[in-house]
C-alpha cells in the first residue's frame, strides 16, 4: 500500500458541446480538484444534474474532460486517464480502476456465472478458481443458484444490479467508482453491499461513490464532496 493518493483530480473541467442542437454548450464543472487516498470513500453530494455522474465518468475515461487531469496510481506511478492512449486506459481499467454502474450492459445470452468470472479470466486467473470465486460471491449476494446458468436479461432490476456488483467486486480493484450501486436493492441486499464495500476499504481500496440512499451513504462515506462548489458558469 502507498501513502500517496490513489486518485488525483486536478483542475478538471467538462463542457458538453452538442453540434446537432445548434452548437448548444452545457458547462458542468470547472477547476475541480479532488484527491482520494487508500481506504477512503469519498461520496459525491449534490442534487440531480449537478454533475456527479459526469465527474465519475470523466474519472473513468468514459467522458472526455475539456481540461485538467485525472491521475490514477498504478505500478508506482500515476497514469493520466485524460491523456493516456486507449490501450493504457484499458490496462488501468483491467487491473486498477473498477466501475459499478446502475445498469448492466453485457453481451446477451451469456450465462450469469460466466459474466462474473470474466474479469478474473481477463486477468489470467484459472477457470476453476474464477468459477469458485464467482460462485462464492453470487452466494454472498444471495442470487439464487438456479439463476447462475441463465443470462441476466430477464432478471429483476435488483438481481441485475447484484450481478453488476459481483462483476466489479470479484476483482479487488484498488480504485473503485460506484454509481448508485444500491439503487434497486432491498434493505437486506443493501446491507450485504455495504459490507462488501467496507471490506474492500479495509483492504486499502480508494473509492468514489454516488449514493442517494442516506443509510448507505452514512455507512460507507469517509467524507462528502460537494460537486456544486465547482459549478461552471453557463
Amino acid at each position: 500500500m502507498t501513502d500517496k493518493p490513489l486518485i488525483i483530480v486536478e483542475d478538471l473541467a467538462k463542457t458538453f458541446v452538442l453540434h446537432n442542437a445548434e452548437q448548444a454548450t452545457i458547462p458542468v464543472f470547472q477547476d475541480l480538484t479532488l484527491q482520494v487516498a487508500a481506504g477512503e470513500c469519498v461520496v459525491l453530494a449534490g442534487e440531480s444534474g449537478v454533475g456527479k455522474s459526469t465527474l465519475m465518468r470523466s474519472i473513468f475515461g468514459n467522458y472526455l474532460p475539456t481540461q485538467g487531469a485525472v491521475k490514477v496510481w498504478q505500478d508506482g506511478a500515476y497514469v493520466d486517464i485524460t491523456k493516456a492512449n486507449p490501450h493504457e486506459v484499458l490496462e488501468v481499467r483491467r487491473r486498477t480502476l473498477g466501475y459499478v454502474s446502475q445498469f448492466l450492459r453485457v453481451i446477451p445470452r451469456v450465462p450469469t456465472l460466466q459474466l462474473v468470472m470474466e474479469p478474473l479470466l481477463e486477468n489470467g486467473v484459472s477457470f476453476q478458481e474464477a468459477k469458485d470465486r464467482a460462485s462464492e460471491l453470487l452466494s454472498a449476494l444471495r442470487l439464487p443458484e438456479a439463476h447462475w446458468d441463465l443470462p441476466p436479461a430477464t432478471f429483476s432490476g435488483g438481481e441485475q444490479q447484484r450481478v453488476n456488483i459481483a462483476r466489479s467486486f470479484i476483482r479487488k480493484y484498488p480504485v473503485l467508482l460506484l454509481d448508485e450501486p444500491t439503487a434497486s436493492l432491498d434493505a437486506e441486499n443493501r446491507a450485504i453491499v455495504v459490507r462488501l464495500i467496507k471490506e474492500a476499504l479495509a483492504e486499502g481500496a480508494a473509492m468514489i461513490g454516488i449514493f442517494h440512499d442516506l443509510d448507505v451513504r452514512d455507512a460507507v462515506a469517509s467524507r462528502l464532496f460537494e460537486v456544486s462548489q465547482f459549478k461552471a458558469a453557463a
Binding site: Y78, H87, V110
Partner: protein, 265 residues
Amino acid sequence: MNAIPGRIAPAPLLSVEGLTKWYGHVLGCRDVAFDLRPGEVLGIVGESGSGKTTLLNCISGKLTPTSGEVRFDTRRFGLTDIYGLSEPDRRRMQREEWGFVHQNPRDGLRMRVSGGANVAEPLMNLGGRHYGNMRQATIDWLDRVELDTRRIDDKPRNFSGGMQQRIQVARNLIHGPRLVFMDEPTGGLDVSVQARLLDLLRELVRDLGLAVIIVTHDMAVARLMADRLMVMKGGEVVETGLTDQVLDDPQHPYTQLLVSSVLQI
C-alpha cells in the same frame, strides 16, 4: 507531481500511416494512420460509403493504396511495409499470419468441399501433411465454435448461415494467426445467432490474444467487440478513441449524429 507513463507499451503489430486510396477522382479513404497492438480490437464504424471497406481492403493487402504505408511485424522480416514485399512473400505472410472473416460466408468458404475440409485447408496450405493430425485439429476447432463435429463431412451449403459463419471463423483461426480482419462478421445473421457469435469471437480473442480489426455499421456490435473505435465519414477518420468514450461522449458532429440516431429497443 507529474504523471509518468506506467509501463512501456508493447511494440505495435501493425502500423498504418498516411493511407490514401483514390479510385480515379473518387476518394476511397484519405490519410488514415493508427497503430494496433497484440490483443487489441479496433472497430471501424461509419455508414455505407464512408470508406470502411476500402480501408479494410487496403490494410489487409487486397487493394493497393494510392499512397501511404501498412507496416506489419512479420515473423520472417520484422516490421515491414506489406506493399514492399514481393507478391509471393506477401501472400505467404497473409496465409501464415492473418485471417479474414467476410460478411458473407460464401465469400470466405469453398462451397464445393466439406465444412471440415474448409477448416483444415489453411493447415494444408501451410504444409501440413499428417491427415490424422489435421482432422483432429479440425474436429477441435469445430467443437470450439460449437458446431456438431459429426457433420464434419457435410458441404457448407447444408449448414445454416450462422453455422457457415462459424465454419468461416474456424477456418480463419485454425492456423494461429496474429491478426484477423472481420468485415461485418455478424451482418447477415439473425440477432439470436449474432449474440452468440459475438460472445464466441470475444472469447477467442481473449484466449488467443489476437489483434482484430472489425468493420461494422452496427454500434451495438462495436461497443461489445472493440476496445477502441475509428469513426469514418466521406473517406476520412473524423474521430478516434476508446470505444465507450466515443459512443458515450462523442466529440465530432458526425459521431454525435451517428450515436444519437441509434434506435433503442
